[in-house]
Symmetry: C2
Subunit: 286 residues, 2 copies
């Protein structure tokens, strides 16, 4: 039994090596999903699959989601120790090898790489008491072809995340070059204002997170909270009643301080708490 | 003797496998250089090295250019058949493994991957009679942190190159979202107007090619041709006396037709021919 993390399979075969001729390595020519497993279940799995298929379609990568599911079931059944039911699953799909330069090959054989990592450990205070965030200097470029996709071109986010090493700062907020708030480096952002949810429009930049989609399309509906998806300015941010970040690994983190001059302070508010409770009840996020 | 192309070494060891945990694969977290070897010499080698170092510095990847040179010398001395003196050399440097998510590791061990490919074969007419190009619908996003770098985040260029498969079209011209002409998918562009050279400013998008730099800083000077680097519009493009593309693999290709409605026709002009001749004399490009 393979029991040292990470456990990795490539096209269904255990092992972590890929050719440097893979277009994922040479060009970041692919997409990924990062999923949580909680007590043996993968919350929002269908949403992850749908986004993977949709993203591959936009990049013209002909992936079989059935094959991805098969490979995932294999690695879960045969390679994860049975007493481990809480992990993080990363699925990378690239265009595979071939093609001359940027030109895509006529026949595409995607590379499907599944990696299983131990569940990430974050302080429980992040969920309960909220987090401090900074505003990144790095700006996101706008590109309507790539906006929303969780693709493998992540240098902007890496440069943003490299702006701080202070462990007290949990996340960094990202604006685009037009000074619109877009997201945080590894999570989406929601504002609560007068009982409404507001989250940035991602048609020009940002990653359309699966948890963001679930909050917009399911949680807010069941709670009868109105939602707006539109351009968000720093003024909107600072005038919010509540702010929270979300992704499918950690669930929902309230933001209680934005480091700036002066720092901006927020409370962990009732809407955020209600959504966290719903997420815990429905999907097991704690 | 290893004599099947591509010949690849990773951190000085022959072999083509890299871990999927390498940040090059997961995030496109690195840079590359593509060089030509002509009759055993690598034209513009110092410029390639300088750009590699400069790009890595901007991305905070601590690469040793001496190590890159050592690995290259090793692969040339020991792995390339001695009767082969014309190849294409691709050098990829990534941030290596490590770090949590986008966060860069405290200790960075870059991956240095050198691949040797056979010299690319293009019709000789491309240099002599010129090429047809299209205008890509795909636009380049603007990002001042990444502009100019030959980094591994190449999805925009892949989507652009996927817009055509007609073998008569040699290249595609790329504009940014502000409708500025930036480059072609794998080459830089120069216009000639009233005896002056004009090439797009790359401070917001595009790859600052080594051949572009050589033309700007060496060839134009020796020919006493004035140069301008500024924003270039489609109107500038269509009113040019001559147009050519360049990169360090193919040298200089005159553009004689831009596919549009109506098509725009250009001649292979005297400035372009003079620069091609200089490039052949000085560096062996034919």
């Amino acid at each position: 039994m393979h029991n040292r993390f990470p456990i990795i399979s490539i096209n269904g075969v255990l092992g972590e090596q890929v050719s440097v001729l893979d277009r994922g390595f040479g060009y970041g020519d692919g997409v990924f999903e990062t999923c949580r497993m909680i007590d043996g279940e993968i919350p929002l799995w269908n949403r992850h699959c749908d986004r993977l298929v949709e993203s591959c379609k936009k990049l013209m990568i002909p992936v079989s989601v059935e094959l991805v599911k098969d490979y995932l079931h294999q690695i879960i059944a045969h390679a994860i120790p049975q007493d481990i039911a809480n992990v993080v699953i990363k699925i990378i799909v690239t265009r595979g090898q071939g093609g001359r330069g940027y030109r895509v090959p006529a026949e595409i054989s995607p590379t499907i790489c599944i990696s299983i990592f131990p569940a990430a450990e974050f302080p429980t205070s992040y969920s309960d008491k909220g987090i401090e965030v900074k505003i990144c200097r790095q700006r996101l470029g706008c590109n309507t072809s790539l906006a929303g996709l969780k693709h493998l071109n992540r240098l902007e986010h890496i440069l943003a995340r490299a702006e701080w090493s202070d462990e007290n700062i949990a996340e960094g907020l990202l604006f685009d070059y037009n000074e619109n708030l877009i997201e945080a480096t590894a999570s989406n952002i929601f504002l609560v204002k007068n009982g409404c949810l507001l989250t940035p429009d991602l048609s020009e930049a940002g990653v359309a997170g699966v948890m963001r989609g679930f909050i917009l399309e399911a949680l807010s509906v069941s709670q009868k909270i109105p939602v707006e998806i539109e351009k968000v300015s720093i003024r909107d941010l600072y005038s919010a009643d509540e702010i929270f970040l979300c992704n499918s690994v950690v669930g929902i983190w309230p933001v209680v301080k934005i480091l700036d001059s002066p720092d901006r302070i927020f409370n962990v508010g009732s809407v955020t708490i209600a959504l966290q409770k719903l997420l815990a009840d429905k999907l097991g996020y704690s």
